[in-house]
């Protein structure tokens, strides 16, 4: 299915947020995920099913003041 991930088109071959995180090579990283501007808590990554056209943001902490 076609998603927008961090502003760019992404062809996704899985089902859940956990699948997407794995597909992006980010498993085990400290990050936060938002789908269609709603936070998806880590506890729901395994069960939250992504849908065609979803807009996903994956963020992490970087240096800042």
């Amino acid at each position: 299915m076609n998603l927008t991930v961090n502003g760019a088109p992404h062809t996704f071959n899985g089902t859940t947020v956990t699948d997407l995180v794995a597909e992006l090579n980010l498993t085990g990283r400290r990050l936060a995920v938002e789908v269609n501007r709603e936070i998806v808590p880590k506890s729901e990554h395994d069960t939250h099913t992504l849908r065609e056209g979803d807009t996903v943001e994956v963020v992490h902490a970087i240096g800042g003041g």
């Binding site: 936060a32 994956v58 992490h60 970087i62 240096g63 800042g64």
Partner: protein, 259 residues
Amino acid sequence: MSEDLLTIAGKTYASRLLIGTGKYKDFEETRDAIEASGAEIVTVALRRTNLGQNPDEPNLLDFVSPERYTILPNTAGCFNAEDAVRTCKLARELLDGHSLVKLEVLGDQKTLYPNIAGTVKAARELVDDGFQVMVYTNDDPIVAKELEDMGCVAVMPLGSLIGSGLGILNPHSLLLIMEQAKVPIIVDAGVGTPSDATLAMELGCDGVLLNSAVAHANKPVLMAGAMKKAIEAGREGFLAGRMPKRVYANPSSPGEGLI
């Protein structure tokens, strides 16, 4: 001085220096500078994760551990209340429910001056949502009081523009803010040198938050240690109470018994 602790949102800290993690050469330097600074509260920013990265790519929080430091996520780069609130919610999720945030809603790129209307709006929403909000603001005592009254846990006026290193340009405004404050007042932005940090503390500020002054020094780790001492000196000077200023000389040696 061991009893003189900074309390923010019910948690106590021995260090009154809060330090940022931006603009360092690499994560090793970031870690070493923070260590040398003695800071216990460390700010971070939130950004989109680079996709297609090497799975072994280092991560800031591996070097600045949330188990060791109080991580203070900021909303830098947000120019409206909506983006700032959204960023705070992502930060809370990222840090497993941690609700202490540094709110900044900026006005324009040139000055990074706070947009007060947006700051007040976001602060209210965040406080209502259970966040503990440390808020970057201008040096207006009326605004500072309003932010405190709505439940912000610390008010953080600028000493001068973010990243400018111009020092504390507004000591009298800061004094007006501190005179009435019941939450910690932390100077956030403007400090360029250790003496700037000392001045802020001598005025009676509860703490100083800085980043560029250390990260942009020629030797950041050395400067981090200097800032630690500067903050401690300024705090002790404030607690000791300065001598009165006078217009004319007053000899330190006794006048009696002169030959």
